[in-house]
């Protein structure tokens, strides 16, 4: 496929490899460079934080990794597959099985109950009805929402909605969890609870996490590595050697 792909394949510990990725938009006559020649290599099991001010391109980069968008140039390689070369159908399969996404605004379907929301990715994956419900119940149990299965999103608090969204993201056991400002709509205590859960999955399941945030303190507390973007370009890439608040802070899980 590309030279980059071969290089990526030789490094089995790599989960995501962005190779000189750019994403441009046309807005009238102007050309917006949302992502501009970014190269990143994310190792499997890593907890990566993408930091930057509003409009720095961090969400655009996350959408490219999620397979929701295609790069204008460059390659995004996840598990040996170049997303830019996948057909729309293959890309939807990739989103279904390889990645799980959590959003700032939770993005639960309001007309469905919590259980139905969590089950939805399994419907697209054509999982049997009986198995589907068992898996969804289990996932909701893991995020502490067993008592809220029949409620609609509007009947839940923000924290509970985000937990449901997290359960939905994890239902297909993805390798990669992508979180776009997951605590942006939550108070700090609830946000901490959610991130504790995320880190728990990162540590216990060895799941790679890429989290977009503009709060440096949160990143320093949870991420093992921080990448800073400005105007679509990578400006800094630093390991966070001692993420604070280790296992002891996971009280929010219960």
């Amino acid at each position: 496929m590309t030279v980059g792909l071969d290089k990526f394949n030789s490094d089995s510990s790599s989960a995501v490899h962005c190779e000189n990725v750019s994403r441009y938009y046309h807005m009238g006559q102007a050309l917006i460079r949302a992502v501009d020649g970014v190269s990143i290599q994310v190792r499997a099991g890593e907890f990566l934080a993408l930091l930057g001010a509003s409009g720095s391109g961090k969400s655009s980069l996350l959408n490219l990794i999620a397979g929701l968008d295609r790069p204008s140039s460059g390659n995004v390689i996840v598990q040996g597959r170049n997303l830019a070369a996948l057909s729309p159908e293959e890309l939807s399969k990739y989103r279904r099985h390889t990645v799980g996404m959590v959003f700032q605004s939770f993005n639960l379907i309001v007309s469905m109950t919590v259980l139905e929301n969590v089950e939805l990715p399994l419907r697209f994956a054509e999982v049997d009805r009986a198995k589907r419900e068992a898996l969804a119940r289990e996932a909701l149990g893991r995020v502490g929402l067993s008592a809220r299965l029949g409620h609609r999103p509007s009947e839940l608090s923000g924290g509970e909605q985000q937990r449901a969204a997290l359960a939905r993201a994890l239902i297909n056991q993805p390798h990669l969890l992508l979180a776009d400002e997951p605590t942006g709509n939550l108070d700090s205590r609830t946000g901490t609870e959610i991130l504790n859960l995320v880190r728990g999955f990162n540590e216990s399941l060895g799941m790679t996490v890429v989290m977009v945030t503009h709060e440096r303190a949160l990143a320093e507390r949870y991420a093992s590595r921080m990448i800073f973007l400005a105007d679509g370009r990578l400006v800094d890439d630093q390991p966070n050697l001692a993420p604070s608040a280790a296992s002891g802070a996971r009280g929010g899980e219960s």
Partner: protein, 472 residues
């Protein structure tokens, strides 16, 4: 996505905007009902007309004559078929053979003769015909006063209205309306008439037992003659009871030789009336009856031509009225087409409603579509979902529409019959919904809905998830 999941999600989505989707579905239902109503009216009218034509007995009858009967010879008949002298006799074996031709319901001898009827000491000369029991249900006897013959051999007769007028000595002035048959029936029903006729009797044979004999002059057979070659003509008389006065003309097919008085066919056969044809007067008397004319009834007007051809091949002459049902079917095909087009117009309007509803749904559910794509729905899944919603509205609208159309039909049928009853006319079924129309209408509704769903579904499928998720 599995079909069951698709159906479940589609119905769930339809329930979410229950009012709007119900109204759209109602639109389809109204469209389907107008289609069903229009077409079932067309079909009903066609059936009514066909039924009428069939009952008239005009288009399902073939008149068969022997080629030996030169009186009914046309130029066309002269040039085709065997020479008259070599043509087969129209006798009982030939009648049985004709009765077995596919499509033939019955082949009955046509017996008609001039007779003298005495009523209240006054003589009336008229043409009399025998009619089979199967003619009872024909339209020609609609509006008849009294009843049909009590049996196939009963000494009873039915009078055509004009003859009844003659018996009563009523004369219609020019320009005057037809006489009311009920007025004529009152003084005549149950009265008796005496018929005088000429029976052909084989020499030495005794007269038929069932006939009341008052005069008998048998001629002794000359010595040395072929048995049956000699016969005598005996004048006889028979008393008959008037049981019915027909309003219409049951024998209209026969034009100038139509009879005005009718007796049961079996009775007419048993009388051995001397018929005025050459063969009858010259041929030997035999035990096998020979007929001048046969009246052949076929299953449907469509069969007339084939039956006629088969009979002509046997060496007989045939006559029938050109199948009027063919042009009628053509007329109704055009009528149905136009009714169908007008009926479909409402469905076309309804289909615009579906497009509108689904496009609105896309706008409203933009974010939802983005979410579904983000968590793994393919473009095809999204397309199928919108398609399924359109299809579900089609199924529901089609079913409700057929029910509605059927109900409208019932109401109009009942209304028409109430009106007919007030006009003292018999009830009619002018509305008919065949099963194929029910299935066809529902199928058509689904098809129209799916076509309407094409554009919204592909628009939803093409939605960019990044844009959709950004949408608030």
């Amino acid at each position: 996505m599995k079909f069951y999941d698709l159906a479940e999600l589609a119905t769930r989505n339809l329930r979410e905007s229950i009012l709007r989707n119900s109204l759209t579905t109602l639109g389809i239902a109204v469209g389907v009902s107008s289609l069903v109503a229009m077409l079932s009216l067309g079909i009903g009218l066609q059936q009514l007309a066909t039924r009428r034509l069939r009952k008239s007995g005009l288009f399902d009858t073939v008149v068969v004559t022997s080629r030996r009967d030169l009186r009914s010879f046309g130029r066309e008949q002269e040039s085709s078929g065997p020479a008259p002298a070599e043509s087969p006799a129209l006798d009982e074996p030939a009648r049985e053979k004709i009765a077995q031709i596919p499509g033939v319901l019955e082949a009955s001898p046509d017996i008609r003769f001039v007779t003298e009827l005495r009523y209240e000491d006054k003589l009336h000369l008229t043409l009399m015909a025998g009619i089979p029991g199967s003619a009872k249900d024909r339209d020609a006897f609609e509006g008849m006063q009294g009843g049909f013959f009590s049996s196939d051999t009963a000494p009873e007769l039915i009078l055509q209205k004009s003859f009844a007028e003659e018996l009563l000595g009523r004369k219609r002035k020019p320009g005057e309306d037809d006489a009311n048959v009920a007025d004529l029936a009152a003084p005549l029903l149950g009265k008796e008439l005496t018929m005088r006729y000429a029976e052909r009797v084989a020499a030495g044979r005794s007269a038929t037992a069932s006939v009341q004999i008052t005069e008998n002059h048998p001629i002794s057979e000359p010595a040395g003659a072929v048995p049956g070659a000699a016969y005598s003509v005996v004048s006889r008389q028979l008393t008959l009871k008037i049981v019915g006065i027909s309003d219409l003309d049951p024998d209209s097919l026969r034009g100038p030789v139509r009879a005005r008085v009718f007796i049961p066919l079996k009775l007419a056969e048993s009388l051995h009336v001397m018929q005025p044809n050459v063969r009858d007067t010259t041929a030997a008397f035999s035990s096998t009856p020979t007929y001048a004319t046969l009246s052949v009834r076929v299953r449907s007007p469509k069969d007339v031509q084939a039956v006629e051809t088969a009979i002509k091949k046997m060496g007989f002459n045939t006559f029938s009225i050109v199948d009027a049902t063919r042009s009628m079917r053509q007329f109704f095909a055009v009528l149905d087409l136009f009714l169908g087009i007008f009926g479909s117009l409402a469905l076309a309007v309804a289909s615009i409603g579906i497009v509108n509803t689904l496009v609105m749904a896309i706008l409203e559910r933009r974010r939802e579509i983005g979410i579904m794509k983000a968590i793994g729905a393919s473009d095809i899944d999204v397309k199928k979902l919108f398609f399924a919603e359109a299809g579900a509205m089609g199924v529901l609208g089609g079913a409700v529409g057929v029910a509605l159309g059927w109900a409208i039909g019932r109401v109009i049928n009942v209304g028409t019959n109430i009106y007919l009853r007030r006009q003292e006319l018999p009830p009619e079924q002018i509305w008919f919904v065949p099963w194929w129309l029910v299935l066809g209408a529902v199928g058509f509704a689904i098809l129209v809905s799916l076509i309407s769903g094409l554009y919204p579904a592909s628009r939803a499928a093409q939605l960019d998830p990044v844009q959709a998720l950004r949408y608030e």
